[in-house]
Symmetry: C2
Subunit: 204 residues, 2 copies
Amino acid sequence: MTTDLPAKRARLRDDLILAAETAIAKGGLSALKARTLAETAGCAVGAIYNVFPDLDALIFAVNARTLEKLDAVLAATVRPDTDPETAMRRLALAYHGFSRAERRRWTAVFAHQIPDGSSPPDWYLGVVGKLFRHIEGPLATLLPDATPEVRGGLARTLFSATHGIVSLGLEEKLGPAPDEVIAQALVVMTRGWVLGLPGAVSPR
Amino acid sequence: MTTDLPAKRARLRDDLILAAETAIAKGGLSALKARTLAETAGCAVGAIYNVFPDLDALIFAVNARTLEKLDAVLAATVRPDTDPETAMRRLALAYHGFSRAERRRWTAVFAHQIPDGSSPPDWYLGVVGKLFRHIEGPLATLLPDATPEVRGGLARTLFSATHGIVSLGLEEKLGPAPDEVIAQALVVMTRGWVLGLPGAVSPR
DNA sequence: GAGAAAATTTGAACGGCGTTCAAAAAATGG
DNA sequence: CCATTTTTTGAACGCCGTTCAAATTTTCTC
């Protein structure tokens, strides 16, 4: 029996990602163990290192899938002609909703710490970068005179701010934070942006 | 030779916190090792567990000190009668500056993950809570009609948003993010708040 | 102050982790 | 079909936080 070798590797790769995803979804990043992974994927512990250089690389693969899923959710959230305030509010609330629905998977994306010198692989940053795109539409309507560079930078800023509210709320790092409180904060915040940003980016 | 026992414990406690703080400042949370700690503080590994239930508790002690330091920096940043926009901009930039100056210590505060069920001790949340107080001053000037509850919630929201921008920038989770870009984002963001928040919290 | 009892400190040992690598197994090719 | 190369395997390595029986120190009693 001759088995196609690159196909087998690819299958193991997928199995490992799936096993890792399940483990993370069930118990967070700290539930990811090489030995459990190998057993679930039906291979030897050493085999993991034939496919991924280390567990960090495997985590990036899982996190990329999570971000792709988030990307799809955000894409389905707003139609192109929605007014900016509604669009931004919906995007922020969709982000919040996703973080709650996919709590552990989503937490893993930002909790994942890589060794000091290194930085995420380029292909991964590409996946991350796609997320800002969703905010750029409403921003273009809101700030028709802004250059693409300004809009791009601002999209990143708004994403980061939204992320801060959602993540500190979810992890309850600042104390208890019920869903409804966070959602309300996002509504006020986005409304504030729509009212304030036009004046803020092109000051008198 | 009779040695005062609670004083000795207290001294060891301080030595351990100092050793932990130094280790974190030098190599981040992952550089905190029980054996190194014991050697630096001049005690046996087991002695750590006579003073702290586990390393997590020690990390909380270190993080509380970091937050106290940040609190002091923020307190020294604005005089009471500063106009809201200037005050908020200075606070945001001071937060950013602190995160850069105390990079590892500050990262440890938010990177610290506690086991799934548990939550931070109350005394620690108290230290965290003090931070929002600094934003409430400018907010009161900006929104004289808002209730203390609304102001308190909003202070938390603005803190979280600022934190999002600073932290995603610092950890470069979204790609390269030079200091100057982050600072500019904070300036635009705070300007947007001052222009937009009054209308956003009491909508027409 | 001596000796017994209680409290504290000690560090070797434990279980678990990511990762490695010599040896075994499988695939290739002549 | 065997020799050679490639891939897979899992016991072993080094390091981790934490524990706990034994050693030490402190306290108490006479």
